[in-house]
Amino acid sequence: MPRISRFLSTALVAATLAGAVVPVAAEAHGIWFAQRARQLALIYGVGADDLDAVKRLPLVKAIKGFDADGLPVNTSLRTAGAIPVVDSDEPVAIVAAEMDYGMWSKDASGEWHNKGRDEVPGATVSEHNFKYAVHLTQMPTKPVPLIASHKLQLIPASTAIPQKMGEPIKVRAFYDGKPIAGADILADYVNDPDQVPVKTDANGYAAIPVRNQGLNVLMAIYVGPTDNPAKYERMEYRSSLSFVLPHLPE
């Protein structure tokens, strides 16, 4: 029993320290794509929380699709009951979405307000949140393009995405079109959203294991400087990269 107590104590200390060094996530939700009833849906949430994406559709500023040759495809979002699904004229190899989640300020009591800090007296945190999603519907045959309007984007470092879970994948994060060091990378935003993130290196690279023989939702998080100090002190970007590894043939 003493050994277990020592173990628990050590674990508690480690957890506390981890909590101390991980920045407080003001708005922990992200967006990604996932298959729902044969259609590709835009998901808003974190972990297993699949929240109301339909009511947030006005915040989606753009949806883009590209075919296997990288050429644009007419793509939009269509409300299908409780979920928004991707609608396109032809098959898309890459689909991308961007959401401006607006300004959020936290007051002294810990409550969040969808306002700038100038409207929340005593705000302890204030930020502007942006969320992006890129989904690969098939394995890329050429480098995944950077999407100009995605301030933060995570791409596979090569076209050779591992096909078995557990194998390492190298990814690269870009901010403003340039590799960004120090971005947080999560290997599985759906099934392990509280994992300690990996940081990108000086050239924007990070290596993580492919978590699932199924849907993989990787997430990059970066907190950048404000462009409107009167309203918010920082800008937070969350950018998912998702793809599916095939299961055994049926």
Partner: protein, 127 residues
Amino acid sequence: MNTKSILSMLAGLMLVAAPVAAEAHGSMKPSHGGIVTMSGEIMVELVRGPKGVDVYVTEEDEPIAASGLTAKITVTADGAKRDTPLSPQNDNRLTAAGLKIPVGAKVVVSLADKRDGDKTFATFTVK
């Protein structure tokens, strides 16, 4: 070790040894002499003939009524892409009368369910 433990252990071994259950989602063989592809559980058969192109749609061996679909066929050949509507015929058959598909063309059949707008794409390379 009692009987219950042994049974539990055997059940566990069976789970380890058995591959993921291969669920049958219907035949993947062409029924009209064409070429087939699957999109999820939906099978699309493309048949080239002297009078045009026929498309047959089934889901787990059950025909999907062509009258419930809005469909088109896109043929990309020699760098040119051309859309042709597919007209619903009897049962699960759709037709593009007079359409010729050259060898080597990439073909995409687009199906939209009239009830809910859900889309299915089936891609072929004609050899």
